[in-house]
């Protein structure tokens, strides 16, 4: 009962906050709503007993990405542009496509998960001992066991992607024409406050 209530509460807050992310004028508010949506989705995962993933969500999305967004937004000094003109121009067509699309997918999802699809089939209703199917490992343990055994190649590819992104980011931002900054201790020590301003 209480879990159901919490589930609905967090899904509602997720929907509302993600709607606010795109509709709010102020960019800082929008990022804060983004944080709220991350937190509510993490709490949904908590309710589903995926503690590790939920914590990862909070750590990565809120801790790293959203804070980075906030920094960027604060530094860019974006002016609040009047989006209403564009909104009127794009809203009818965009919302029409969006509504058709989401109606279609909701209809299909409802059809697929409404009832057991095997109910007409001969395979319906067999005895399953659910107690045997319960896992007794913690989530972190099971993820670790699967990650380093079943999916070791995928793990290595993910590592390669990380290496690639670091190299790509460095090579796109580095300035090679200028010689690398080096610490010359003699220069450093010989600087006094008198000769600092002389170029």
């Amino acid at each position: 009962m209480i879990i159901n209530f919490l589930f609905y509460f967090f899904s509602f807050s997720l929907l509302v906050s993600s709607l606010m992310v795109i509709s709010v004028q102020n960019a800082v508010h929008s990022v804060l709503f983004l944080v709220l949506s991350f937190i509510s989705s993490a709490s949904l995962l908590f309710l589903l007993e995926c503690e590790y993933i939920a914590l990862l969500f909070i750590m990565i999305y809120v801790g790293a990405i959203a804070v980075l967004f906030l920094f960027v937004v604060m530094m860019l000094d974006t002016k609040t542009v009047n989006v209403k003109k564009d909104l009127l121009k794009y809203f009818p067509f965009g919302s029409l496509i969006g509504i058709i699309f989401s109606l279609e997918i909701f209809f299909l999802i409802g059809k697929n998960f409404k009832s057991n699809s095997y109910i007409d089939s001969v395979l319906f209703n067999f005895y399953t001992n659910w107690f045997d199917k319960l896992d007794t490992l913690t989530e972190l343990e099971s993820i670790g066991q699967v990650l380093y055994t079943h999916y070791v190649v995928q793990f290595l590819i993910a590592g390669n992607i990380l290496l690639l992104s670091v190299i790509g980011a460095v090579s796109l931002t580095i300035k090679t024409t200028q010689s690398a900054r080096k610490q010359v201790i003699f220069k450093q020590l010989s600087r006094t406050y008198k000769n600092v301003l002389i170029v």
């Binding site: 699809s117 001969v122 190649v153 993910a158």
Partner: protein, 673 residues
């Protein structure tokens, strides 16, 4: 099942491991050399090192002796069959050639970072993994690996606004299409509980194509189907001992069957049917023991029940004989389906029951088509799955720049440095098509009817856009981008035919497209102007004016390769194109064939226009070019001669592509394997 970890015995992914490890050493090499002040021209050593690494990786792939028993390795996530072997060799050789060609251009543009070659090697690693990936997760990671390095390659010339613009465009649209891929994959995982292509093949190979044939209830099925299948279904229903499942129509059918057949008098009945009836009888006993009251009052009259019990009393002693027969006759299929069902039926069938069940299944298979076994999963609604497949298709079409999703490609091709454009116009298309084949021909072949008409529209659109869009272009790179759009459309024609010949033509077409694309782009990148504004990034059509007078051989080879992709007879491009149209006609897509042939004529205009500019333009002064070094000249000559030679003896190409297409689908050719 034992868990496979990364042991030395999984040596089948040695090329990828080699490439990945040598990348790390490459980083060390580049870092140490570029820190050193006395060594500034790092590009030469890096390019030759890159070619060496790629050559050795291709050599390792070539030496792989394809252990048939270990085609699926690393817990079925990597598929190391002949298709992946072929495509990996092609990708490796083509990308090492393109590295060789880039050398002069990179020197002209003063791109002197070791990261450039490193990024190309990263993308080749991604393409290798993409060619051999056997599940959605590995495929996604491989796509990300190659496309991330492409984004950086596109924006590598930092002082050019066009290049940065192209990089950002490519990044945003690529990230968008990747998110579509992830959405589709998550839907598929939610519906099937698996991400492995082998599992999809097992699950959906028996599904009747299209959703129209998914039966609403079993009654419809009774009216359409062969009698023995009906009996089998009925027997299976009986075996569940559940009176609710057995509807009235089932009971009526049972009654009529029992009355009509006289097992003991009719000797013309084959053995399978006798077994079937006996089996039904045996189940009927138990059924009536359980629900005798219901049956007595509702479904069967007293007489009928007596008849049934007589019949059953004769059937019971026959069990011994049945047992003996079962021990003799076990086909592989019986065992396969027996294993599949043994878990579910272990409570229901004790001992010989199970044996009869498998024999019955085998008889069903013998009597009718393999697809009749669809009864197992007929009730699964596949609409949402098709929705997910559309997402996968759209995302991969974004990567291939096929017509409604092509808008990024002319801009990105034009803006990014020519060497990068060269690389991502030629190399990745083959690998992404391999993934498409694996998903849609291996995993979800049962759904072919639901996606092929969708793809026909996209193919027509792509061909039209590619053919008419290129007419007005004055920049060579944009023109080649439109040409690539139309060629992807042509390959989609072969892709949606759904036949073995279509698959063969697809692979042949992609191979020839890659070779001739490599030839055209190498000649394009080798014509380096000796002008003051030599560092100009884009090349207009007028930059190659009267190339026929300044460099005759290069001009001839340029004309040969252009005519080859246009589809003129003395080149192999003609044969593969005619093969495509033939597959379209063989699968009764006449309208598609007509439109694509007409558009192919239109597209020839802009290829011939380049040739006209090379040879017949009225100019007073031509342009001067840097001479082509002999090693690059040799590569260009080999490629162009290949285009000519393959026309004389195309069996080399067709044998190779036929072998590849045969080995893609073991279940496509022989369902019992």
């Amino acid at each position: 099942m034992t868990v496979e970890t990364l042991l030395f015995k999984n040596i089948n992914i040695l090329p990828e491991l080699f490439l990945g490890i040598s990348l790390v050493y490459f980083v060390l090499h580049g870092t140490f050399l570029s820190v050193n002040k006395n060594f500034y021209l790092i590009q030469t050593s890096c390019i030759y090192l890159g070619i060496l690494i790629l050559g050795m990786a291709s050599f390792l792939v070539f030496n792989d002796n394809l252990d048939v028993l270990e085609i699926s390795i690393i817990n079925n996530t990597i598929n190391n069959d002949f298709l992946s072997l072929f495509s990996k060799i092609t990708v490796g050789i083509i990308s090492s050639f393109s590295l060789l060609m880039m050398y002069g251009y990179l020197n002209d543009q003063r791109i002197n970072h070791f990261e450039y070659v490193l990024l190309i090697l990263f993308s080749v690693l991604g393409l290798f993994l993409l060619c051999s990936s056997n599940d959605l997760l590995t495929a996604y990671l491989a796509i990300e690996l190659q496309s991330l390095s492409f984004y950086v390659l596109a924006s590598f010339k930092k002082n050019s606004t066009f290049s940065v613009d192209a990089g950002i465009k490519y990044f945003i649209l690529g990230a968008f299409s990747s998110s579509l891929f992830l959405f589709g994959s998550s839907l598929i995982y939610g519906l099937t509980g698996s991400i492995n292509f082998d599992d999809f093949n097992d699950l959906f190979f028996c599904v009747f194509p299209g959703s129209s044939l998914v039966f609403v209830n079993i009654k419809e099925y009774y009216e359409n189907q062969d009698q023995s299948i009906l009996l089998y279904a009925l027997a299976e229903k009986l075996s569940t001992f559940n009176e609710k499942v057995l509807s009235e129509s089932d009971a009526l059918l049972l009654k009529s069957e029992i009355k009509n057949t006289n097992v003991f008098e009719n000797s013309s009945l084959n053995f399978d049917k006798i077994i079937t009836y006996n089996w039904i009888g045996v189940h009927t006993i138990q059924f009536f023991k359980n629900v005798q009251l219901d049956i007595n009052t509702q479904l069967l009259t007293k007489e009928e029940l007596d008849y049934l019990q007589n019949w059953v009393s004769f059937a019971e002693p026959a069990q011994e004989q049945i047992l003996q027969v079962i021990n003799l006759d076990f086909s592989p299929l019986t065992i396969k389906y027996g294993n599949m069902l043994s878990e579910k039926y272990s409570e229901v069938f004790s001992g010989w029951y199970f044996g009869i069940f498998s024999l019955l299944l085998a008889s069903c298979v013998k009597l009718t088509d393999f697809q009749e076994l669809e009864l197992f999963d007929s009730s699964f609604d596949t609409n949402l799955l098709q929705f997910a497949l559309v997402f996968l298709l759209i995302s991969l079409f974004f990567k291939l720049a096929i017509a409604p999703f092509h808008l990024w490609s002319p801009d990105v091709y034009e803006g990014s440095p020519t060497s990068s454009t060269f690389f991502f116009a030629v190399v990745p298309k083959l690998a992404i098509f391999i993934l498409l084949i694996r998903i849609f021909y291996y995993g979800f072949y049962g759904f072919i009817d639901s996606w092929r008409y969708f793809i026909v529209i996209i193919a027509i659109l792509s061909i039209i856009v590619g053919s008419f869009g290129g007419l007005e272009q004055r920049k060579i790179k944009t023109l080649l981008a439109y040409s690539s759009i139309s060629h992807m459309g042509y390959s989609l024609i072969a892709f949606n035919s759904g036949t073995l010949e279509g698959l063969q033509m697809l692979i042949g077409y992609l191979l020839i497209y890659t070779i001739s694309g490599l030839c055209i782009w190498s000649i394009f990148i080798l014509t380096r102007l000796k002008n003051p504004y030599v560092r100009k990034q884009n090349k207009d059509l007028t930059d190659i004016v009267s190339l026929g007078k300044t460099n005759k051989i290069l001009a001839i080879f340029f004309a040969i390769s252009l005519l080859s992709i246009a589809g003129f007879p003395p080149m192999i491009g003609f044969l593969v194109k005619i093969g495509l149209f033939l597959t379209a006609i063989e699968s009764s897509m006449y309208f598609l064939a007509l439109i694509s042939i007409l558009c192919s004529v239109v597209a020839t205009f802009y290829y011939i226009r380049i040739i006209k500019i090379i040879y017949f333009e009225k100019t007073i002064v031509g342009k001067l070019y840097h001479p082509v070094t002999s090693q690059k000249g040799v590569v260009v000559v080999i490629l162009s001669m290949l285009l000519l030679f393959l026309f004389v003896n195309p069996s080399l190409l067709f044998l190779l592509s036929y072998k590849v297409s045969l080995l893609i689908l073991p279940s496509f050719v022989n369902p019992t394997l």
